[in-house]
């Protein structure tokens, strides 16, 4: 397979994951704003989407409809839902020969209908519909990937993009909110303010799952454990790292080359299997997340070099 193609697949699925995550953040922000007026949730949503600086530069004060528009469809925001989707589709065109017709059609369909739907600012009353549509499109693309692609190196690069972006996203959600999970602010074992835990869990579509596993008892450590270490939670760091590890191992099996990225992912995986949430809190949650984000950043760069995405 061409290095360029591998890179195209990787970035296509990274962008798709990103657009889905941004949509989920908007959904969370909107929900909190409706149910908890005055909670200033939008500022932290912008920060989580790494769009706070760009937003302030362009729009100044945080204002709901402007934030939604910025995150949803502003072409000046490279991680807006529409920008990410356009990038995904652009990459899909580049790798058109590596993806199946089903995957291509799902991406292209989504692009065509989103472009139409997001041609104008979305009125608040339509927002839930639009966000649901984005979620459905993402699910469809993922479904076609699973149902129609050969399980070979191409599939591995798609998955690497997905899970690297997901790990990054979950780590950022936690990092923006790490202060509400700090034991110094909240006593260990005490209940969290509803808004705060709801936001965190909603941003990863994990409210019901968490409540089911923890009988509705939200504690800082419980939530951190769930999002960092729970191997059953499909958006946890541990889960994402396990997936990246398995896809990189598959590439090793297929190519029989061992690269720097293999060392990095083994190191990350060892950490997440051996460490406990108590140790993380001892070390400092923010420090832990900062290092995790640095490691995934390095991993992404290594994958790019090791598999010759570019010259």
């Amino acid at each position: 397979m061409l290095g360029k193609t591998a890179g195209g697949l990787f970035w296509m699925f990274r962008s798709l994951e990103r657009s889905e995550n941004t949509a989920r953040l908007i959904e969370t922000g909107f929900r909190i704003a409706l149910t908890r007026p005055g909670s200033e949730e939008w500022a932290s949503v912008l920060k989580t989407a790494a769009a706070d600086q760009a937003y302030t530069a362009n729009h100044g004060a945080v204002e709901q409809s402007r934030v939604i528009n910025f995150l949803l469809r502003d072409p000046g925001n490279p991680s807006s839902v529409m920008s990410s989707f356009s990038q995904a589709r652009q990459n899909a065109r580049i790798v058109r020969t590596a993806i199946t017709r089903e995957v291509w059609e799902a991406v292209n369909d989504a692009y065509v209908s989103l472009k139409d739907r997001l041609a104008r600012p979305v009125p608040e009353r339509d927002l839930p519909d639009v966000l649901a549509q984005i979620r459905q499109h993402s699910a469809l693309v993922r479904g076609t990937l699973h149902g129609s692609m050969l399980r070979n190196d191409m599939f591995d690069f798609c998955r690497l993009g997905t899970f690297l972006e997901r790990a990054d996203n979950t780590a950022r959600i936690l990092d923006v909110k790490y202060y509400v999970l700090l034991p110094s602010v909240m006593q260990v074992g005490s209940s969290l303010d509803n808004v705060q835990w709801e936001t965190i869990l909603r941003s990863v579509s994990g409210v019901r799952a968490y409540n089911r596993l923890n009988h509705g008892k939200a504690t800082p450590m419980g939530i951190a454990d769930f999002l960092i270490f729970d191997p059953r939670m499909p958006r946890s760091l541990r889960y994402s790292v396990t997936k990246i590890l398995s896809n990189l191992r598959m590439l090793h099996a297929e190519y029989s080359d061992w690269h720097a990225c293999h060392d990095t992912i083994e190191r990350l995986d060892r950490r997440l299997t051996r460490q406990t949430v108590e140790e993380v809190f001892e070390e400092g949650l923010h420090e832990f997340l900062t290092e995790f984000l640095a490691e995934t950043g390095r991993l992404g760069a290594e994958i790019e070099t090791d598999f010759k995405f570019t010259e």
Binding site: K4, Q90, R96, D257
Partner: protein
């Protein structure tokens, strides 16, 4: 157009009676509800947009992806008509290849005075660097898309030879897929020859042209200028259906005297490149130094016989419209036979007498740039305004050698489906031929382009033309 002029209609002939190849289709059409068909035609458009069959139009501000309109009424060719075309194209492809070999070697045809020397020597499409180069298998024109027009029951003319990088074959394939989806019942009652084997045939034909001493399994790749090229969809479509890599210049480099592509596991050599990049952009070291699309040094590898480039560099000379006018001589010179397919009578404006005639009859003629393509820079006399005529007259006088002129042909029509029912529109036809040491292979079908505007004779997609599925019927 002069109003009231009678055109040959492929469905209803000249006398408004259904022609034999359309019998079965016409009776099917009679039994259909036109409103339902129009609805289905709309659905076809949605289908095309979904599958991403779009093309970019050069010169449009935001390079939007546009759909080529598709019309659901097929263009139908009987097996007998096709047999004649096939024979004619076979002859022409062989003659063009022989001509190219000769032009780039001993130049016998120039010595014999059958084609003027200046026409070659001063031609931009002539590549002096190809002199004495042996293309693998002796093949220059691996893929040819001959443009044909029809003016009567048995009147076919070759309009252009397209021996450079003919495009449009993906539409031939996708139009058929669409028709199969929309009207399966038609294909169970009418025996239409399949076209779906084209990608496999192309792969086999290209592999048969590989250089001597290749890899054990010949590796074929398609070289595209990239996603912004107007035909990118087609490049990807073909690579996908042939199961080969779609590469850009930045994926390739010269390694150990061969062309290699950068894969996830390092560089891997290629044996055959089907390039959809013009000669000029192929190799910045040997041709246009500003090109970012090509591969530095590829021409040196080619000259050393270690890569097949399809079509070969320098084939553009046979596409030249001034050379075109000599095609009957060229066919005769190399095959010893008369050309089976006729040329359109052509005035070479480089010749003073012809120029005088053309200037006198500008309003009746079609004038084309010698090196032009895609319907750009051409004048359709009968459709032009007085001002346009005068502007073109000035251009002609300034650079007569840059133009040829042809009579305005009474192109045949095929009906399209409109809200008011069937309406005749002018068409042309581009069948695709593959050439390898194993011979010429013609796919039974082609690209039918149709001018959607009433009375228009310009079928180019870049000028608002559409396409139709092209049916070649099986023998009865």
């Amino acid at each position: 157009m002069t109003s009231g002029q009678k055109f040959f209609d492929e469905m209803r002939g000249i006398n408004d009676v259904t022609r034999a190849p359309y019998d079965a289709y016409a009776s099917w059409f009679q039994s259909e509800d036109p409103k339902g068909l129009i609805k289905e035609a709309k659905e076809a458009e949605a289908f095309f947009r979904r599958t991403g069959i779009t093309f970019n139009v050069y010169g449009q501000a935001d390079a939007e992806e546009r759909l080529i309109p598709f019309d659901i009424v097929p263009r139908i060719i009987s097996s007998k008509e096709w047999a004649l075309l096939a024979k004619g194209i076979d002859q022409r492809v062989r003659a063009i290849n022989a001509f190219l070999y000769d032009i780039y070697h001993r130049q016998e045809i120039l010595r014999a005075g059958r084609v003027p020397k200046e026409l070659i020597a001063r031609n931009e499409a002539f590549l002096p660097m190809m002199m004495g180069v042996e293309p693998p298998g002796g093949i220059y024109t691996h893929i040819v898309g001959t443009d044909l027009v029809r003016t009567g029951e048995s009147e076919f003319f070759v309009l252009e030879d397209n021996a450079r990088t003919p495009s449009g074959v993906s539409y031939m394939l996708e139009n058929r897929e669409t028709m199969l989806q929309m009207f399966p019942e038609l294909f169970s009652s009418i025996k239409v020859r399949p076209v779906a084997g084209y990608p496999t045939a192309l792969h086999a034909s290209l592999a048969a042209c590989m250089p001597p001493d290749p890899s054990p399994e010949p590796t074929v790749a398609i070289l595209t200028p990239g996603i912004h090229n107007s035909a990118y969809f087609e490049h990807a479509f073909l690579a996908d259906n042939m199961g080969v890599e779609l590469v850009e210049g930045s994926d390739l480099r010269v390694r150990d005297g061969r062309i290699a592509m950068r894969t996830t596991r390092g560089y891997k050599p290629i044996d055959v490149i089907y390039r959809r990049v013009d000669d000029d952009f192929l190799d910045p070291l040997n041709f246009n130094p500003g090109s970012l699309l090509g591969v530095p040094g590829i021409f040196d590898v080619y000259r050393a016989g270690r890569i097949t480039i399809a079509n070969a560099p320098g084939t553009g000379i046979s596409d030249d419209k001034a050379i075109y006018s000599y095609m009957p001589d060229i066919v005769e010179f190399y095959t010893g036979e008369n050309a089976i397919l006729k040329n359109v009578p052509t005035w070479r404006c480089s010749e003073p007498e012809s120029l005088a005639y053309v200037l006198d009859h500008l309003a009746e003629l079609v004038v084309k740039e010698v090196h032009g393509s895609g319907g750009y820079g051409m004048l359709v006399g009968p459709a032009a305004s007085r001002k346009e005529l005068e502007q073109f007259r000035a251009k002609l006088q300034a650079k007569p050698g840059g133009y040829i002129a042809q009579p305005t042909l009474a192109l045949s029509t095929v009906p399209i489906l409109t809200k008011a029912g069937l309406a005749p529109r002018h068409v042309d036809l581009r069948p695709f031929a593959l050439f390898s040491p194993n011979g010429v292979q013609l796919i039974p079908g082609g690209l039918t382009r149709v001018a959607l505007k009433k009375g228009s004779l310009v079928v180019n997609s870049s000028q608002g033309g559409g396409t139709k599925d092209t049916w070649v019927l099986e023998d009865d």
